[in-house]
Amino acid sequence: MLPLLLRRLSLRHARLAPGQTALLVLILALGVAVFTAVRLANRAAVSSFTHFTDTLTGTSDWIIQAPAGRLPEAVLPELRAALADLAVQIHPVIESTGSEPAPTASPAEADAGAGANADAPPRFGRRTYTLLGVDLVAIANLAAQQTAADPFFRDGGGGGFFDLFGPEPLVWLSPAYAPTPPGHLDLIVNDRPVRLRVAGLIPRATDGPAAPVGLVVLDLPRLQRLVGREGQIDRVEFVLEPGHALEARRAEVSRRLTRLALAAPSASSASAHHPPSITHLPSSDPQPSSAPRWLVSTPGGRRDTAETMTEAFRLNLTVLSLIALLVGLYLVFQALDGAVVRRRAEIAILRSLGVDARVIRFAWLAEAAVLGLAGGALGLLLGWAGAQVAVRAVGQTVNALYYATSVQAAQLAWPEAALGLAAGVVASVLAGWAPARAAAETPPAQVLVRGAPGAIGGRWLRSWPLALGAIALGVALTRLPPLDLGGGTRFPLGGHLAAFCGILGGGVLAALAIPALGRALRPLAARGASWRVAIGHLLRPTGRHRLAAAALVCAIGMAAGMAILVASFERSVRGWVQSALQADLYLSSAGAQSATADNRLAPATWRALAAHPAVAKASIFSAYPLTLDGKPTTLGGGDLADQSGRDGFLWVGPPPPAEALDPARNAGLALVSESFSQRFRIQRGDTLTVPTPAGPRTLRVAALFADYGNERGTVLVDRTHTTRWFDDDHATSISLDLLPGAVAETVRADLLAAHPGVSIFTNSSLRAEVLRIFRQTFSITYALQIIGLAVAVVGLALSLVSVLLDRRDELTTLRALGFRRSEIARATAIEGGVLALCATAVGLALSFGLGWVLIHVINKQSFGWTLAFSAPAAQLAALAVLVIGTGFGVSYLVGRWGAALPADREE
């Protein structure tokens, strides 16, 4: 029975209205595509965070890393002694970054010296390479290397084993970078350009991931030297030998590492740097000090940290991407409901022939599911294509805010594909649920009541209590605290639910407003028959009208809300940039191209830069990555008095007391960024303890400042203190005030000629660059808005098609009364245009609420940035004109098409 029913009922329907079916599938596909594209792009951006050592080691069992600063090499013999009986390999690692050099013009111009690249406007975002330093001799002991398909060393061609020890440092590149390696690699490392000889390609360890495209491997001591970190290592990785009691030994290694972290460095490692034999365990129980010297983690733990770091950002994008699908859901509901209404007679006949109501219901659901499946499948293809574009946008944001990623392409992953397909089917079946029930409930007698309006959606969409209740609930939900995802990441669930409630309430409100608008337009009825017909329909809107308006409200509300968020953000960033960027020139290592780049200026370099005769004053800033409560953040050292004196801070709340800015009195005081305050729940007056190589320091928060450049948060103290704590005089960036009369561009060209590895921005170029990066990070949200709007407008057209199909009798009557085709089209245009107008009005009103939720709840809870509310009037007006105009136009075309419909109904 069912197959026959499906064939005769559903298939025939699809065959008879192929255009409508195709459009529905397309809309669903678009919704699924946006959702899938964003998820794929997110996935690619996250999976591009590689624990790079895995490429070489397979997977390490444990990793230790200093909570701040680096570990001295002296810990290595200490670790060997402590773990002597556990059959564990100990691999020290140093990691840094370098960037590709800025493109230079012709060699001739480069030779011309000064101003070779001074004229090119500087930009961030050049490719960042991860430089990984491991002991290339010792890693041969790893099982993963011994079974690797390719060797690190090949004799002949300068890549042989002992070439490793030659005078020239060698690098190995990822096969993804170039299948056949180039002869050398040019990089900017810290403050100078370097040319490194390429020895070969990085062999892939057994069970290890393929080397990511930006990975560059060097022998550990060579990288130490290259980045000026002799005697220091970033982390130590532990790989247990297989065999007896592996799990017990793994646990024991972790236990001893944790215990040893709390012990003072043992005398043996402190006095004799490299004792020839260490066969004893530390003799006495060492003195525990208050802070661990290192933190013990696993590669999986590091990946998880990277994932949670970007989780809020990715979740927000995913939710945004659901708008198109949500609008699509409205439309499928529309279309199926329309079909049920139009085919009532048919259903009634089937019922009177004794077909079971459940079978009919199932047939309709099956039709919805097939629609969803087709839309989902098409959506996957579109989504995969879209992801290739989206991945760059997502990658840029991740790069700017979180960690270096070089992701270029998104793979279609099965979980995402399944989810996309499921989203399509679920949305479709969900939308088809009520129409299917309505179909099943059609009484056999219905055959006599042709074309009676099916008031399915209409019932909800005429409910004032629902509209007001949803909005009230939404307002209440904004009070909810964020959901803690762990690792310092919080998800504003309440905010998202509030937005959803707002959209729902707004949609119902718009539906309710249609007859009111119709009444308001009554005076215009005198202008002609088309107006009268249109107003007549608007006074008694069907569920279909109401649904179309609601779908439009959803799309407009979100698009305009996002526009408000972006505008507010931009205004705040502008204000911050204006306040924070006061100096004439800003200098940093040209190697620092992403959030995690750790390229810095050597003391000699920044002193030379600051000593330029045109420089009136130099302000030095040093940043140190830090792990606090297991979350990555930054400790900054700067000249607070100087920066504050120039209004360089945008205080959130009251400014700090005077002593906080005086290096002689501000030991123990800190300024924290607003994001830091949010992430670590630290307020003004609270104390926090930061780990430093010189031991933990307890700091009291003197004030909060705005910093839109760093989502991870910053603790800022006077540089006099960080220089001492970290025993380090490198600069992350310096800003120069020039003497009156000096021309910034000229000084910049001067400095660049002497220091080609330094990136120099003038005040105006840095401001422009900050705003460019800012807009770039929002580029994907623009795309999502446009797609959502497009779907909604198409949806309006589709609704009107449904309406006209429902009204075939009326159209026939109108034609019989002498209505011309253009008059019918005009009537439809007015009907659709007014719907669009109504939806736009409600949508814009709603967008202010949504904008407020986005700014003060969703953004604040996810990222911790305070933004000043700013509505982009011109942009919103343009949006309104566009939607209303398109609404009129599309409706006119639908009307023309409808006017030509044959009178008999063959459906």
Binding site: E73, L76, P77, R80, L83, A84, D85, L86, A87, Q89, I90, D135, V137, A138, A140, N141, Q145, Q146, P151, F152, F153, D155, G160, F161, F162, D163, L164, F165, G166, P167, D219, L220, P221, Q224, E230, G231, L240, E241, P242, G243, H244, A245, L246, R249, H273, H274, P276, S277, I278, T279
Partner: protein, 384 residues
């Protein structure tokens, strides 16, 4: 073949067994340095101990090579094991090592180590190799015997009595700490420890051996600690020489007889299958006196390695003359187990090094031995 340098270790093992060959050279013909700048062993060495038990980084190649037999205290039949513990040092080319390197990650010396253990009762054979640069995780003292590679080490615990401690293991499966005490004084092979290796003036090494060390300690196998005693043989040799072009490999034997004497034998196999004239058998008397003797080396059976496909001789008949009785004696060298092959990944060379029984022709057990067979996997042409 991933790492080239360790080849040189085995290459020098090869050279070591040429210790007695060639004609006497006048001292004036012997250069002080090899063409690549390493020190050349000179005749009439004046060793100072314990310094010369330590490392000699001026020379290109050096090793401390221990083999031995272990017995548990189980009654009535103790469990028996054979072990090998070898520490190699190889100097990097002087030119590449000229620029400075940090102490923790040196690049002047490379340290390779091999450990192996065979359970005589079950035939279970464990082995592991380890490669490190001189630095925080591998080192060799230049003042006394103290070499280390990861958590493996060999050092004097009392230099005066030449009592040493060996700490080794094979991954997580076996771990051992042995105290080794000379039961017989140090032997200097060649001319008072200067051993010639071939016609080339630079072809020589310094060759010092403890032919019999009393061993006591603990072997932890699969987490179970077994107290053990036994005896071991230790070679210490250093040189800067290169391999002869005609050779494909060598067979080497150290045997400790129950009567208190030892014998050391090596045969250099030429490409045409003949034994090099430099192949030698040396008896060590109870008082440490050395005596060379004629020999006949006759492999009786072979074993094909399932790991590499190499075919190794197994039961070997060795016929020689007893320097005390002047009578001909026949020994049968019988490996406890055929599979004692070290298929090296780091060294790039596969060889067989195994614990054997030393039997008389009538099957009576006369002592224990360690047999080394190289160049059977493939000719060691890569060493030339």
């Amino acid at each position: 073949m991933k790492y080239q340098p360790p080849l040189h270790f085995l290459l020098s093992v090869f050279c070591a067994f040429c210790a007695f060959c060639g004609q006497p050279l006048r001292a004036s013909e012997i250069p002080l340095r090899t063409p690549d700048g390493f020190a050349v062993p000179q005749p009439g060495p004046a060793f100072t101990f314990p310094r010369d038990h330590g490392s000699h980084p001026d020379y290109k190649i050096e090793w401390w090579y221990l083999t031995g037999h272990l017995f548990t205290a189980d009654k009535p039949t103790p469990r028996r094991f054979g072990f090998q513990a070898t520490f190699f040092r190889s100097a990097a080319p002087l030119a590449t090592a000229a620029h400075p390197a940090p102490a923790a990650f040196g690049h002047d010396q490379i340290h390779l180590a091999h450990m192996a253990l065979v359970d005589v009762a079950t035939g279970r054979f464990l082995h592991q190799e380890r490669l490190n640069r001189a630095g925080w995780d591998a080192a060799a003292s230049t003042t006394t015997l103290d070499v280390r590679n990861g958590d493996w080490s060999l050092r004097f615990i009392d230099a005066a009595s030449e009592k040493m401690q060996l700490v080794g293991g094979i991954r997580a499966d076996a771990r051992f700490t042995f105290t080794l005490t000379p039961a017989k004084p140090l032997v200097r092979f060649g001319e008072a420890g200067y051993s010639r290796k071939g016609a080339a003036p630079t072809a020589a090494s310094y060759y010092l051996t403890f032919p019999r060390l009393a061993l006591a300690g603990a072997l932890t196998l699969d987490g179970v600690e077994l107290p053990v005693t036994g005896q071991a043989w230790m070679d210490h040799e250093y040189s800067s020489s290169q391999l002869d072009k005609n050779q494909v490999g060598w067979d080497w034997l150290s045997a400790q007889l129950h009567d208190g004497r030892e014998l050391m034998f090596y045969a250099l196999r030429a490409a045409d299958g003949t034994l090099d004239p430099a192949s030698t058998l040396t008896w060590i008397a109870r008082d440490g006196t050395l005596a060379r003797a004629p020999f006949l080396w006759q492999p009786l059976t072979t074993w094909k390695s399932p790991h590499t496909g190499a075919i190794y001789p197994q039961r070997i008949r060795l016929t020689t003359t007893d320097p005390e009785s002047r009578a001909e004696v026949v020994f049968i060298i019988e490996p406890f187990h055929p599979d004692q092959e070290l298929a090296g990944k780091l060294g790039g060379v596969t060889y067989w090094e195994g614990a054997c029984r030393l039997l008389a022709a009538d099957g009576a057990e006369l002592g224990s031995a360690y047999l080394e067979l190289t160049g059977y996997d493939r000719a060691l042409t890569v060493l030339r």
